[in-house]
Amino acid sequence: MLHRLFVEPFTYPFMARALAELLICGTLAGTVGVVILLRRLAFMTDALTHTVFPGVVVGHLLSGDSGIFWGALAAGLLTAILLTTLTRRREVAEDTALAVMLTSFFAVGVVMVSRQTGYTADLTAFLFGRILTVTEAQLLQSAVVAALVVALLAVLRRPLLARTFDPEGARAVGYRIGLLDLAINVVVALVVVASVRAVGTVLVIALLIVPAAAARAVSDRLVVIVPLAALIGALGGWAGLATSYEASINHGLRLASGGTVVLALVAFHLACLAAGTARRHRRCTAMVPVRPAVAP
């Protein structure tokens, strides 16, 4: 049963490529998600997923599917720089700046895509992804982005930890906070760009936030949280894709793969929340002092 559900579908090359893409993106997004969670950058990340949208559209208009990655990359990097600059200035509140950027960039994308003849189909593909049509060249792009991001995080892990835990203390020892913030915004932009094809601009936020939140629910230690978030990201991708295939092919129930992946991640999150609550309850029970025996 498990073999039929989780292995057999991926004997088809298009399904194997889709799985490889989701494993790369899930692992990567899970890892980067921990930084987003600890820095409380979920809204910033959500803004970034939307601002990438016009880049996706322009890339597609210029050179079809192969242009999506480069268009998204350009928009993502531009956004990362703009966000870093805007959030360091104090004239405009950070959330206001993010909201204005999010909506204006997204509106530009919608206006551009609405001029296409296949408007609805294109919009749906950009918003919710088209994982089953991933090519080997696109897989390679994702793998290169993943290697780049992992290398960057490995090099910057100590300054990033110091900056995230105590920004003032990190500045005092000489870390360049502005550059670190730019680096992390670029990293998030790269992960969004790499994952956009798999799950679309709307659902990519789930890939970045949910695995990290799930891992945080069951552990207080970063050395556990980071690998666990990466594992949950990858397993969520696998389980979602397998479920989508099984429901569509063997049960005649068409399930969109991107949405099913997100639902699988949410299921993992709920399970982790339950496990975390049970763990805390056990700890509290163990800590209740034993009442001394009352002398007769």
């Binding site: 930890l161 203390g169 000489g174």
Partner: protein, 249 residues
């Protein structure tokens, strides 16, 4: 040996003058308390010494060079309650952060780094809590962990921002003992506080601040009723014989 020199230091935020004409020296092994009401510029002066806010006039030198050049010889202890108590980090990991500049970006911590971190934690009396999550400690204990992080960096100038705020008696004594230990090792210490009694206990010198300087020198000679009244605006001061009580608004 002079560790810190403040020479007519002025700091501005835009057009607003936050500090004006601050003058004084701190020697190796000596502690100076920055005393003044809220908003007097105590934290601003600490940030200026750290090189985090630009000096608009005058000059700050640390070990004979500018703060930027002396950064590796300075350590800073922020207020513990400004940090996220939910952050998933252990006490030992926080203290090891004090060694990050020595460890570098890529290599693993050496035995010397781990030993320095353990010793620092022992100095603040929390050696047995190394594996606990930082956020599970009390406010006073967290403050001690942050001091241990600074001790692990082996600084020649230590700057503490209101370290005794909301700290219980046990932690207060542990902080005082650790600061005394650092001073005996030749570290110069600057502490911002509005607790006059603790300033007396921990520091040889005081600097009375309220945007400008109302006194800098030995605690006994500088903490006079007149100077305190001038620093705090006079109306929040009560005198009972030779005792001074400052009421904060």
């Amino acid at each position: 040996m002079i560790t810190l020199t403040l020479d007519q230091v002025g700091v501005s935020y835009g057009s607003a003058r936050a500090l004006d004409s601050i003058d004084g020296t701190v020697h190796a092994g000596e502690a100076v308390a920055l005393i003044g009401p809220n908003g007097a510029g105590k934290s601003t002066l600490i940030k200026a010494i750290l090189g985090l806010v630009p000096v608009a006039s005058g000059r700050i030198t640390v070990l004979g060079v500018s703060p930027d050049q002396a950064r590796h010889h300075m350590a800073y202890v922020p207020q513990a309650d400004t940090l996220d108590p939910d952050f998933p980090i252990s006490v030992g990991e926080v203290v090891l952060m004090g060694r990050y500049r020595r460890i570098g970006w890529l290599r693993r911590p050496k035995r010397a780094d781990r030993t320095a971190a353990s010793r620092a934690l022992e100095q603040v009396g929390l050696a047995e809590r190394a594996r606990d999550r930082f956020g599970t400690l009390s406010g006073g204990q967290r403050q001690r962990v942050l001091l241990a992080r600074a001790i692990a960096a082996e600084p020649r100038l230590l700057l503490l921002d209101e370290p005794f705020n909301g700290v219980d008696a046990v932690s207060e004594q542990a902080l005082l003992d650790a600061i005394t230990g650092l001073k005996s090792g030749g570290t110069a210490v600057v502490i911002s506080t509005h607790d006059l009694a603790l300033a007396h206990l921990a520091c040889e010198g005081v600097c009375l601040l309220n945007c400008c300087q109302y006194g800098f020198g030995p605690a006994a000679a500088t903490l006079t009723p007149e100077r305190l009244r001038a620093t705090y605006g006079g109306n929040a001061l009560e005198l009972r014989g030779d005792r001074v009580i400052v009421a904060h608004s």
